[in-house]
């Protein structure tokens, strides 16, 4: 229940106010983008670059993170949490290999494994070999800490490409999950997992993961796995994080307006030429923004019609805008009103 007094007045230009409320403090942000040195958590892009990233809806953030909360015993017990980390944390061949050698004359690739790294990840040479065999569909031979793989080709280029491919193979954990680290919430003392990648879909299937609280700062990943509503909330939340970090206090409702504007179509639209501004209904509003000639010519080619309902168009032609005091207009003329009452009287 929302009390009527708290509702915004009809005709209030909430979008313009939101834009001003975010834009004005944003101008100060450029000058104040400071960095902490050495603190791991602050490696994430912040400040204006991150803000630009969000409103431009980049397909992948420059520094993706995902936060995986745990349920049941894992949330309270470090060892159980670590078991889950082992299932999630992505280990590639290059992570455990000391060297990857190609032999072009015999057409074999030899992977020399690092014993320490293997132990740390609880992996065996044989296990890795079988995984490679399965993924690459080749045969291999294990001797000690070395794996020899047959390539069935003598072409140097193919061998090199295969070696590169093999060293990128995921041998443990979830592909594209990134490196996972356990962290503890200072308040609730709850353990949770942070990964340095945004791939979240498969993580949901891991036992012990609290699926209702999985979160990533990658808006598109949230959109793919949880839908638009989640994407919208992520946009608002990420904007809030950026602004809060800079000590800027912007009301959340302004951010919600922006997030809503970006997602109301069911997909994610950016703010700019290829999104919100470029897809406006009015020809004049689009032409006034960017690529003026393109919009005018297309409008002419398709015989488009401008209804002149937006702000930009009406400012252009010099008409009263349909916002604020311009919202209201005469519904019935005085003479017409007299006619109606006459009709009523007849009945």
């Amino acid at each position: 229940m929302v009390k009527k007094e708290f509702l915004v007045t009809p005709g209030e230009p909430v979008g313009v106010i939101a834009a001003q409320s975010i834009g004005e403090p944003g101008t100060q942000m450029v000058l104040r983008s400071f960095h902490y040195a050495g603190v791991a958590s602050s490696i994430a892009t912040s400040g204006l670059p991150r803000l630009v990233e969000i409103v431009d809806t980049r397909k992948k953030p420059a520094t993706p993170f995902s936060y995986i909360y745990l349920k049941g015993k894992a949330a309270k017990d470090f060892d159980t949490a670590e078991q889950i980390v082992k299932k999630i944390s992505e280990v590639r061949v290059s992570d455990v290999a000391r060297r990857v050698l190609e032999n072009f004359s015999t057409g074999t690739i030899t992977i020399k494994l690092d014993e320490q790294k293997m132990n740390a990840n609880e992996l065996t040479p044989r296990g890795i070999a079988s995984k490679i065999e399965k993924l690459m569909k080749t045969e291999s031979a294990v001797s000690g800490n070395a794996i020899q793989i047959k390539t069935h080709t003598k072409k140097a280029k193919e061998i090199r490409m295969m070696a590169v491919h093999i060293s990128k193979l995921t041998v443990n954990g979830i592909e594209n999950a990134g490196r996972a680290v356990i962290k503890q919430d200072k308040k609730t003392e709850e353990f949770y997992i942070v990964t340095n990648n945004s791939s979240v879909g498969q993580i949901l299937q891991v036992d012990g993961v609290d699926t209702s609280r999985v979160y990533t700062n990658d808006i598109f990943e949230m959109y793919r796995t949880f839908g638009v509503e989640a994407a919208r909330n992520t946009i608002a939340k990420e904007l809030d994080i950026v602004l809060r970090e800079q000590g800027i206090n912007v009301d959340k409702r302004h951010l919600y307006i922006l997030a809503d504007a970006m997602t109301f179509s069911g997909g994610i639209k950016n703010v700019g030429r290829r999104g919100l501004s470029g897809e406006k209904e009015s020809i004049f509003a689009r032409a006034a923004y960017e690529e003026t000639v393109k919009h005018l010519i297309n409008a002419a080619a398709f015989g488009e019609k401008d209804d002149m309902r937006g702000v930009t168009e009406n400012v252009l032609i010099g008409k009263q805008i349909l916002l604020g005091t311009g919202t209201v207009s005469l519904a019935i003329k005085k003479e017409d009103l007299a006619k109606i009452s006459e009709k009523k009287a007849k009945k």
């Binding site: 010099g318 009263q320 805008i321 005091t325």
Partner: protein, 610 residues
């Protein structure tokens, strides 16, 4: 290995051109230096060994910026105490020191090879040069202001600019000069707190400021945020008073085809005739007379010119040749007295007239003042003398500076100058404020002593009384004498208003800029503010009614812009020929946009709701 052998050769360049190579560049450059010091080579030769390139650069060309240094050899300055004494007795001069290799000039490149110290006691084994004086780390403008070593560097940048903007006695032949604009301070004073550089540059002979009595106090909020309060009594007595001179000139130009301009009162038939009244102040020759009081719009130099295009004079056909009025008028918002008129000749042997207008500039609200400490302020209120604070001797400050102007900006020099100026004024002596000449604490002691001798508080604080209530201020007020400059930014030269005025031809929107009687732009962000507030009618007024409102006839059937046919006395649509046309009010900019769209071969049709 081959590469290395090349590097072993140290190439020698003279003015960028290769001369040859030596084995040891460092030793070679030392040798050249020695030759220069002994007088074998000119003192204008500079040599440097560039370690990065393993090369010796010798420069003798012009345009290098060079600076003198005292030579230090074997850990000892060559400028000995005996030489110092001799110099003081004027037995020797600077040229002697240069000749005898005691002082030498280094350029930027050679400076890279030098290790310079400020003081003699800092000399180490590898020191090569000694700074002639500590003040040489500052430039001229900074050294001409007192106590720069007590101020923040950011203020240095500002004060260096302000000094250049100060009104004063800029030239002693100002009466003969016809500068396009000049400012002349009526009663320039030499500063009580002076510096060695200021004296050496003969600046006291043409100063550019006055010694103001300054109290560091607020005045009913009139000196908030870099505003200053002035004493009307002082202003009436000539404080900061100046004359503003502006020169207008014109030339009798010659055109191809034997035509030329003529200085004369234009006939009423001339194109662009301004009306009889505008020329009323001109004398017979068409030029204004000295001592005439002139106002905006008055013609100063009457001139007629041939028409701009040849066809015009031909098509006119009549006996009398068509002429154009090309007179020079006093610009909008200006007034004054004609100071001087000269006739002269240009290099192209054409007649030139120069008219100098003067106008009195008494300090008023909005004029800018600055001390020599980077403390600028705009006069916000000129208080009658009886309302100003005063001390028990009846001394009334000339200027009230807000105390908040000091702590954040770290202009301790300003405070120091106040006490120094006060001490100088009391003792009748010029105080030396040269940078690094004395320690700050020593200075405060010295000036405090003088103040106490004359019965003042040694820190410059005084009991002041409010001029309005007559009551004693609860706190003692710090005051003193500070040298202030009146800068040439004056409101009377900048003030501009517009209610109606000229519009641009293309867009029918108001013009921009003071010279064109323009308005202030109501820009995109200002528009957004009104949109955000929902003030749709105010927005329309700003952007349409007060700007480029246009009444346009639009065809109801085809949506094209029509016109009124005065012969047929009907409205017509040029496209469909229809006569059912509505008159709509739109911005001229939109009409222009429609025209431009049409020029792209796109037909924009306007559909109207009834």
């Amino acid at each position: 290995m081959a590469k290395k052998s090349i590097n072993e050769k140290c190439y020698v360049y003279i003015n960028g051109k290769i001369l040859g190579y030596v084995k040891d560049g460092r030793a070679y450059s030392d040798e050249v230096r020695k030759a220069r010091r002994s007088g074998l080579l000119s003192g204008e030769v500079n040599v440097s060994y560039v370690k990065r390139l393993n090369a010796v650069h010798i420069n003798t060309d012009n345009g290098r910026i060079r600076k003198p240094y005292i030579i230090v050899e074997n850990g000892k300055s060559k400028f000995t105490s005996e030489l110092r004494e001799k110099l003081a007795k004027k037995e020797i001069d600077f040229a002697y020191l240069l000749r005898h290799g005691i002082i030498e000039y280094l350029d930027a490149e050679e400076e890279e090879n030098a290790l310079v110290v400020f003081h003699e006691n800092e000399i180490a084994n590898d020191t090569t040069h000694l700074e002639v004086d500590m003040t040489s780390i500052f430039g001229f403008t900074l050294n001409a202001s007192p106590f720069p070593e007590h101020n923040n560097a950011a203020r240095h940048a500002m004060l260096s600019n302000f000094i250049k903007q100060a009104q004063g006695l800029y030239a002693t032949n100002f009466n003969l000069r016809f500068d396009s604009r000049s400012y002349l301070l009526f009663y320039p004073q030499k500063p009580i707190v002076s510096t060695a550089v200021y004296q050496a540059a003969n600046m006291p002979k043409h100063p550019s400021g006055q010694n103001f009595v300054v109290a560091l106090t607020t005045y009913y909020g009139y000196n908030m945020a870099d505003a200053v309060v002035l004493n009307k009594g002082a202003v009436d007595r000539g404080l900061g008073r100046s004359m503003f001179y502006k020169m207008y000139s014109d030339e009798e130009r010659r055109y191809p085809g034997g035509q030329k301009d003529i200085f004369r009162i234009p006939p009423a038939t001339a194109e662009g005739y301004l009306g009889e009244h505008a020329y009323s102040k001109l004398s017979e020759d068409g030029i204004i007379e000295p001592e005439t009081i002139v106002d905006e719009g008055d013609v100063l130099i009457g001139k007629v010119a041939p028409p701009r295009f040849l066809e015009e004079s031909i098509s006119a056909g009549g006996l009398e040749e068509k002429i154009r009025d090309d007179s020079t008028t006093l610009k909008a918002g200006e007034k004054g007295i004609v100071d001087s008129v000269i006739f002269t000749e240009s290099t192209g042997a054409t007649k030139v007239v120069k008219v100098r207008i003067k106008s009195l500039r008494v300090p008023e609200k909005g004029d800018k003042f600055a001390s020599r400490q980077g403390q600028k302020g705009v006069a916000a209120y000129i208080v009658p003398q009886e309302d100003m604070p005063f001390n028990e001797q009846g001394i009334v400050p000339d200027l009230l500076l807000n105390p908040h102007s000091v702590p954040n900006r770290l202009t301790f020099g300003h405070l120091l100058e106040e006490i120094a100026g006060k001490a100088g004024a009391l003792s009748g002596k010029i105080i030396d404020g040269t940078a690094f000449a004395e320690k700050g604490s020593k200075r405060i002691e010295d000036y405090g002593k003088i103040l106490e001798e004359h019965g003042f508080d040694k820190f410059g604080d005084e009991v002041l009384y409010d001029g309005i209530t007559g009551r004693k201020f609860r706190a003692k007020i710090f005051n003193g004498v500070v040298y202030y400059n009146r800068l040439y930014h004056m409101v009377s030269n900048k003030l501009q208003v517009r209610s109606r005025g000229p519009v641009q031809i293309l867009t029918h929107q108001p013009t921009e800029g003071k010279a064109r009687q323009g308005g202030l732009r109501f820009g995109e962000m200002e528009r957004d503010v009104l949109v955000g507030y929902g003030a749709s009618l105010l927005l329309k007024e700003r952007l349409l009614d007060q700007s480029d409102k246009a009444s346009v006839l639009v065809c109801k059937s085809c949506g094209n812009i029509g016109y009124y046919d005065y012969i047929k006395r009907t409205v017509v649509c040029p496209i469909c020929g229809g006569t059912s046309i509505a008159e709509v009010e739109i911005s001229y900019a939109f009409k222009l946009l429609l025209d431009e769209i049409k020029s792209m071969h796109i037909f924009p049709a306007l559909k109207m709701k009834e």
